[in-house]
Symmetry: D2
Subunit: 367 residues, 4 copies
Amino acid sequence: MANSFGKLFTLSTWGESHGAGIGVVVDGCPPLLPITAEEIQAELDRRRPGQSDIVTPRKEADAVEILSGVFEGRTTGTPIAMLVRNADQRPGAYDEMREKFRPSHADFTYQAKYGIRDHRGGGRSSARETIGRVAAGAIAKKILAAAGVEIRAYVTRIHDIAMPEDSGAGAEFPTLAEVEATAVRCPHAETAAAMIERIKAVRAEGDSVGGVVRCRVRGVPAGLGEPVFDRLEADLAKAMLSLPATKGFEIGSGFGAVALKGSQHNDVFAPDGKGGARTVTNRSGGVQGGISNGAEIWFNTAFKPTATILQRQQTVDMRGGETELVGRGRHDPCVVPRAVPIVEAMTALVLVDHWMRQKAQRGTFEF
Amino acid sequence: MANSFGKLFTLSTWGESHGAGIGVVVDGCPPLLPITAEEIQAELDRRRPGQSDIVTPRKEADAVEILSGVFEGRTTGTPIAMLVRNADQRPGAYDEMREKFRPSHADFTYQAKYGIRDHRGGGRSSARETIGRVAAGAIAKKILAAAGVEIRAYVTRIHDIAMPEDSGAGAEFPTLAEVEATAVRCPHAETAAAMIERIKAVRAEGDSVGGVVRCRVRGVPAGLGEPVFDRLEADLAKAMLSLPATKGFEIGSGFGAVALKGSQHNDVFAPDGKGGARTVTNRSGGVQGGISNGAEIWFNTAFKPTATILQRQQTVDMRGGETELVGRGRHDPCVVPRAVPIVEAMTALVLVDHWMRQKAQRGTFEF
Amino acid sequence: MANSFGKLFTLSTWGESHGAGIGVVVDGCPPLLPITAEEIQAELDRRRPGQSDIVTPRKEADAVEILSGVFEGRTTGTPIAMLVRNADQRPGAYDEMREKFRPSHADFTYQAKYGIRDHRGGGRSSARETIGRVAAGAIAKKILAAAGVEIRAYVTRIHDIAMPEDSGAGAEFPTLAEVEATAVRCPHAETAAAMIERIKAVRAEGDSVGGVVRCRVRGVPAGLGEPVFDRLEADLAKAMLSLPATKGFEIGSGFGAVALKGSQHNDVFAPDGKGGARTVTNRSGGVQGGISNGAEIWFNTAFKPTATILQRQQTVDMRGGETELVGRGRHDPCVVPRAVPIVEAMTALVLVDHWMRQKAQRGTFEF
Amino acid sequence: MANSFGKLFTLSTWGESHGAGIGVVVDGCPPLLPITAEEIQAELDRRRPGQSDIVTPRKEADAVEILSGVFEGRTTGTPIAMLVRNADQRPGAYDEMREKFRPSHADFTYQAKYGIRDHRGGGRSSARETIGRVAAGAIAKKILAAAGVEIRAYVTRIHDIAMPEDSGAGAEFPTLAEVEATAVRCPHAETAAAMIERIKAVRAEGDSVGGVVRCRVRGVPAGLGEPVFDRLEADLAKAMLSLPATKGFEIGSGFGAVALKGSQHNDVFAPDGKGGARTVTNRSGGVQGGISNGAEIWFNTAFKPTATILQRQQTVDMRGGETELVGRGRHDPCVVPRAVPIVEAMTALVLVDHWMRQKAQRGTFEF
């Protein structure tokens, strides 16, 4: 099940960039949830190309069709299959990729692993695969929203341009409107403007840049996550590193924790006023011992600069011979803004799955 | 299976800090592998307390017994159960923890999740749980060693003291002797001395510090890892974040990737002289598109400062009332050196699992 | 993953009888296998309605589309998604089923489980779901055929009409042509004729009958199957009982084993002439201790009479009130002949999965 | 995870007949369940040898130790490890089995699968492995008992001696005392006496016999089981066929369903008086479309005659040479009575697992 994710709320994605289409099957969704293709489409529209002048100008409608599992507007508890047809492709546009391995792409490793690959547009390694994740995540987000959980991801850094620090408990939780206000999805307007300028400058050079996406979640009750291998932060780390172009993950204080002493880092407890406890600070990132503690969950994911650049690069062909490759066509100089809804989707999927696990184990055995 | 890890080479751990013992079951191990309790004990001895004057002086023999799955010195292909009995415990030593939640420990979250917890020494959340991982990892390491794969973890940073940068392809691969030469497991002697001094100084204050462990792996063939969710780096990230006290993971260039442009970050290919390709640089960290490319795999894991400190801290008791807690007893001011063999164990487990997956899918269906 | 089957060669089915379509995703298929939509269609054609005058006269083309995972005629190792669109449905034809629970159908239990159901044609509980299994099984059969494994299922009994006993090692292995020679898929011509007559007679009464399908497999090497829970016969039993309308499974001597003493039942060993052993008899059914022994694998599956009958039956409506229901339309008086390719498909899926597991665990760790 | 069973309430067994011991780890158990070693021991005592004069006279104490997951008499939600040490073994007693394959045992297939085997007492293929299942099942039974579910297995047939038919809804549900009243665990006293006589007669011949165990479950609510692959009957079939010496499984009408027409077999619905429906008859065996319907669940499992007989048998040795083997020692002439608690244990494990799945998917997402 290398192409499946989740234990109880499971999604399985399939499809290649230039095959018939991209799809996903969601298994284990609770029944009776109202859901429409429009709601799913709205999330897909956030990730698709052509949204603004800093992402790839390719026009892809990416219209989703729900094939099963929804009846008269509500989920039935059976598998929800969703399909996005690929648009007609230009034959021959990718012939060079059949013979040459693009640097820092997955061409070489797919060939090594399988002895065959669909070279067109990266095949299965294309970021189009994330369509299925976003579609499944739209369902998970709806479940969470009904339970009072809110997920907000946004760009905190592009190349060397970072927004002012805002993380953790106490800091303001940006609204969706603030995030969507600019093409770069950074809720800090001045920083956003600088980021956009940088992306345009880099594009003009035929180059690319990466960045950091922060994700914050509020409303998660204490008790989600498993104590050992399936810790909440472990599953979030896996979810993030399973995304194309990611190189790092940190939760709460993250790598910065190393600079602090225990007396500076510990989150002391105070009464929550309801007979329980809350942490006064939140360097833990909302998770302790792998289990949510009721505080805001927050983490960062690092994205490398896009591997496709419009410059001449040295490489090797299928016969092991030295050659060169020049990137062409319409590509994203920076995928980070489009990654924002994908990060939210994966986060929602992890949370719903752990919530279902918790429901399974706790409480009485009655109907 | 929240306490299991791996799909084909699976380990399941059990046990609490102050219960009868700690154990692990390894399922799926290839048959006919020569293995002895002594080999496993050697790895356990690397993680156990009392090894040096910078870790906790608690003396725990942690003697392992192989209960099944090994016959006449070789694995039989059936489950390998291993048990480490806990030493006799001092009754009453942990009575305070029954009533009070220790800051940045898992006491509160376990109580929230389960409505009950074994409070003695952290119960299941104790780092003693990693004994089972190290025992299982010893077997995985032996399998990999026979296949020419070498794993080397070491400490690159403690608090604000970091060794000179050494990562990636081309840099020297430290020997095991170099790593084990100092109590802090940093192969750079001068840095190690400074780290040890810092740990001692912090201990004198009743405080604690964290650090970074780097792990490098050479000899892994191209082709391990799955293209989407079970990417090699995703499973490594999960493995690392499943360890106690970890806050971050980065592979290859990691968070530093963000500072580079694509033209600076891409690893161009050159002929490998055997009809294939190799990357000239290794910012990818040995993995592209989730699949190993034959280059050295390297990644970093951040550990926060130990939560247990010998200072007075504010907290909350089981009834939600404000109280205070003073850490006592013999604790590690810094767990990072002891984490080194655990990082190696988890890495070995991930690699064997993916190697078995690759064996399953490729090749012909014959015996 | 309640709608998935298999650990390494995994299929996930989705779709309802009267929704947009029926589909399947196959994950873990070895790369480089030549496969075409036509080969899959050929198996689907064996299960579809309208093949003969003893099955339902409904005409369904059930044309399969391969959506992913096959490139230039060969599998790529990535997920293979396949889709069969449902034909246009007659609105209103199933309105009665919205309100009334059909006896011995899944209407009531789906409603109890989910609180909602797609009542049209049985929704997800429809035998149309098996389309996905047959499509996936076609791929598995091709893998096995290349490895010299042959699977043959056929009908040995309809109602009280049984063919002469033929099971186990030594007995003749029917050809595919012999099985397909009659509409009832019993390779014994005289018995087949009687079975067909019985089915027609029962249909004339508006009634239905069940039967027994035998499945035999030759060419499976010794060593497939796991020793405890995932015994080969356990997974075959699960596979068969996962089919609609099945009530029983027996392997080798099956329930008849009870009538024998150990001295009569044991399969003694004789040299196989190649330095190994073979069983002289085969009451074990090709499996000992859960693992294949190299002899022919053979087992029986019992199918109950079709629940849909064209007679008046007492039942209950959605509000718990007493009511009546009269079956209508075009239904199979006997599903058993159409179950033959489905039994073969499930058998192939179990075998490929176990073969991949065996490949993963045995042998050296090299490429 | 070939040695694990269950998706949410999971057990993993390990251990060989003549190794250090036999054990099990239960993962996913709900917290706060009161449980003691004595309660588990009581179930183990029902399966252990030496209980009566018709089973093997070997004396094995089989004393269980709970190693983890239970604190102050209640489960903590973390893994419950249990260990039964093997008694000291007589060296040399099994030397013959090192060289010769016992007919209809797993010696040959283990050797073929793994290239190595622990030949002493059958190693991992020994029925002692079921100790772990019974220990885990004791916990599952306690969970079910608290929810009002009662499981009763008993012997309905030994060799050709069968008790009068009693199955399904309406028939009397035997008490535990009635089942335990005789050594053969058949609640029909006259039949039990005849069975015991037959077993003694067969033992005098150095031969063995098999039989049928029926299992009935009442109190299961409608809605347990998954619609497709993980049907309740499919998981029960797998559970039963995963037991040593089993050859067949049938639920409800089973193989007898074939003799009936649909009009005779269908279970019509009647109002249940509480706004729902109940079936008037119960040929379905309490399951429709894979999901429990609230009626009694009942099924049969066929056990072959014990393979170990005290007679001379032809066989083959490790070098492929013809040889003979004479069974010796103290063996069960009939394992069927001892299988009764094991059947109950596996049934309980399946039911708890499905109940937890149902809890996970249904209801609201709140705490």
